[in-house]
């Protein structure tokens, strides 16, 4: 017998650009009747729909920063998103991957419940454009301290001056 399971997956992202502006977007609920929706079953902030795609988060045993790409359509609001983030080099990103189930119509937002949620944090490291897409690039907010983990803690003695980007290395 073939067993079948369905899961509804949505991304809810929060980007804070360098000028302090907050942007909340989700890529699942389209035209629900409200301009923005919260994560189902939670009292989260409201997220507007945007047709973005998330790709490329990687992690390794060595614990290097994982790289994430968020792809938006090339439109006025995404250009503003990049420019307000100084080319997306100073933006902060919180990405929530939300698994949901629905008991009723797939069209009905009120019928959805959250079954799991995973949150990751990233910092902006740049952006690129082409004629249809704006790509925002992010790296995970903290690097591994490698073989010395967890016997050492971060201090100016072992990492020097705190860097302005996400790359911290032991001295």
């Amino acid at each position: 017998m073939i067993m079948e399971t369905s899961v509804h997956i949505a991304h809810f992202l929060f980007i804070q650009t360098a000028n302090g502006q907050s942007h909340y977007y989700q890529n699942y609920f389209f035209n629900t009747g409200a301009s923005a929706v919260a994560i189902p079953g939670s009292a989260s902030p409201s997220y507007r729909h945007a047709p973005f795609r998330v790709e490329g988060a990687l992690s390794s045993l060595n614990g290097e920063n994982s790289l994430l790409r968020v792809l938006f359509p090339h439109s006025a609001f995404t250009i503003a998103l990049v420019e307000n983030g100084e080319g997306n080099r100073l933006s902060k990103l919180s990405l929530k991957t939300v698994w949901m189930a629905t008991t009723g119509s797939i069209l009905d937002y009120s019928g959805y419940t959250k079954t799991a949620e995973y949150e990751e944090f990233y910092v902006g490291v740049g952006a690129s454009f082409d004629d249809t897409t704006v790509e925002l690039r992010f790296r995970s907010a903290m690097d591994s301290v490698g073989a010395s983990f967890p016997r050492q803690t971060f201090s100016s003695k072992n990492v020097g001056f705190l860097p302005l980007n996400a790359e911290i290395s032991l001295r």
């Binding site: 079948e4 369905s6 899961v7």
Partner: protein, 131 residues
């Protein structure tokens, strides 16, 4: 919002849209499905206008150029769904959040003096107008 010319077709076919899903199938044959959106997209309507006048043929071509080909989206008038009940027309004419665009340029076949047969293929896509 532009509207397709109000001309009654002599033939019409409709295919419903699909939902954004992906399926993983294991070696055992078991499948796991994922859904990535709450709206359907990719609806299709093929229209045939047999032996219509040059005036109506020009109206369709003018509309095609007015929409910059497949660039701008539009709605469909009641005449396109002539012969269907109001309940069915509600489903066919305006699926939720869907606007129509040309899937390909209209095909015009001249059949007699002042008469042409025009075939139009349309697709209905989710219209995202900006965040």
């Amino acid at each position: 919002m532009a509207v397709f010319p109000s001309i009654r077709p002599t033939g019409r076919s409709y295919s419903p849209g699909q939902f954004p899903t992906k399926t993983y199938r294991g070696l055992s044959g078991a499948t796991v499905k994922r859904v990535f959106g709450n709206r359907s997209f990719g609806h299709g309507i093929d229209l045939q206008f047999e032996n219509i006048s040059d005036v109506n043929t020009k109206a369709i071509l003018d509309h095609y150029y007015g929409q910059f080909g497949n660039y701008a989206r539009f709605t469909l008038p009641d005449a396109v769904f002539s012969g269907t009940s109001s309940e069915l027309k509600g489903v066919l004419q305006a699926p939720t959040s869907i606007l129509w665009e040309y899937a390909e340029p209209p095909q015009v076949e001249s059949v007699f003096n002042g008469r042409s047969t025009v075939t139009v293929r349309l697709i209905g896509e989710l219209d995202y107008s900006g965040a």
